[in-house]
């Protein structure tokens, strides 16, 4: 049984606590957060000096606080891992053995997630720590990958494209619908199918539309509908150009 202390009280921390708690292979023995709030019946502290001995201290706080939290830990030589996509392994304090346990998913407060489907990216300074983190990951997910800091940074960048930027294109679709008194629901089946398609096709094979076909008639009709100097128009032009260059 692996004993873990989880530091942080945000969405990632909360979902990880629930995931570990749902099987009996990883024992979350203590939580640390600024208010000392207990969750899922696990005792909590707000005092670094009260931290219990554990096999792993998992830091699930905002990216810019990870380094500081790791330097605040009042012990040496123990395994300390963070859960961030964009923070390198060596940003953790060198006083302890460092590791990464990065769940590649977007977490929202009120949405349940099926952790078994979430890719977990593992990295550790020492081989035996990589084994411990990998075993813990295998207990809650079917998708566990060794990913080094350099790769993880790229993965985080790719995630911004397929998650944050994609969602913003949904928002533009929503704006266009609203402006023309159309319900956004009209677009939802198309959005679902577009995402479903790439489960079995490469995005390159799945690409369709006027840019791919170089259908200038439709492209010009679309551009004429977008306000001059609007960001929507710039986005339309730039993404069309980018699809053309890949075609």
């Amino acid at each position: 049984m692996t004993n873990v202390v989880i530091i942080g009280s945000g969405n990632v921390a909360t979902h990880l606590i629930k995931a570990f708690n749902s099987n009996n292979k990883t024992n979350v023995i203590q939580l640390f957060n600024r208010k000392g709030i207990s969750l899922e019946g696990i005792p909590a502290t707000d005092n670094y000096n009260n931290l219990l001995p554990a096999d792993l201290y998992l830091i699930a706080v905002s990216d810019d606080a990870i380094g500081e939290v790791s330097r605040n830990l009042p012990f040496k030589g123990r395994l300390v891992a963070h859960t961030s996509g964009s923070v390198a392994l060596d940003e953790l304090s060198p006083e302890n053995r460092s590791g990464v346990f990065y769940p590649l998913q977007t977490f929202s407060e009120n949405r349940e997630v099926d952790f078994s489907e979430i890719p977990l990216c593992i990295e550790a300074e020492k081989e035996e720590d990589a084994v411990l983190l990998t075993n813990m990951a295998n207990n809650i997910s079917r998708q566990v990958y060794p990913v080094n800091s350099e790769q993880r940074r790229s993965l985080h960048l790719a995630a911004v494209f397929v998650n944050n930027f994609v969602n913003h294109l949904y928002a533009i679709g929503n704006t266009i619908c609203r402006e023309h008194e159309l319900p956004f629901d009209l677009l939802k089946p198309l959005i679902a199918e577009t995402a479903r398609k790439i489960k079995t096709m490469s995005p390159e094979d799945a690409q369709t539309g006027p840019a791919k076909r170089n259908d200038q008639t439709t492209i010009q009709k679309h551009l004429a509908r977008l306000n001059e100097d609007s960001l929507q128009k710039e986005i339309y032009k730039l993404l069309t150009k980018s699809i053309r260059e890949k075609s």
Copy 2:
């Protein structure tokens, strides 16, 4: 029972034929295509003069051929509808009564679609034809909307953002993964969750990420990873700017 002739042999025509054939309320009596190829046991012709009398002639051919096909029909005063998102009602020949029967979905050759979930956008010159098209649509879909030509054009533009452009962002994610020897599979659960989220949240509420948080440290790290003068870098900057302006 409504008798229909379907003109065209592409993905939209094929999927419509199957959808109508799967219930016994719409009778597809004949197909027209250049090679006179029969599908699903329905007789076909390649000769306009052999077209049977019908309640509706449904033109499911490429956008730039719709006008010409409608002008080739050797009769007058009958109901003729097209299935395109970007062609106006009045681009059909005025010799017949015109209508639109636009399924808002992306169709691929080898993918089954559940037509009951596909929004059908209906428009007609005459009220009684709108009723006929709406009834036909209700027989195969649970989502039927009256959408005029002006709205349909905007809808088609919105669809390019949430389908073609979104898929291109998936392709960029795939490229970044490949360049760093990471499997694209790592991103698939994130892609699925991003699409799932907006079933119940508005895209504005679902927006997360460094641009939304104005996390300049992460934004600068990401920009530093993208090649100078690359389109990926331009896209990153432009979409970040657009998210900031909406925030």
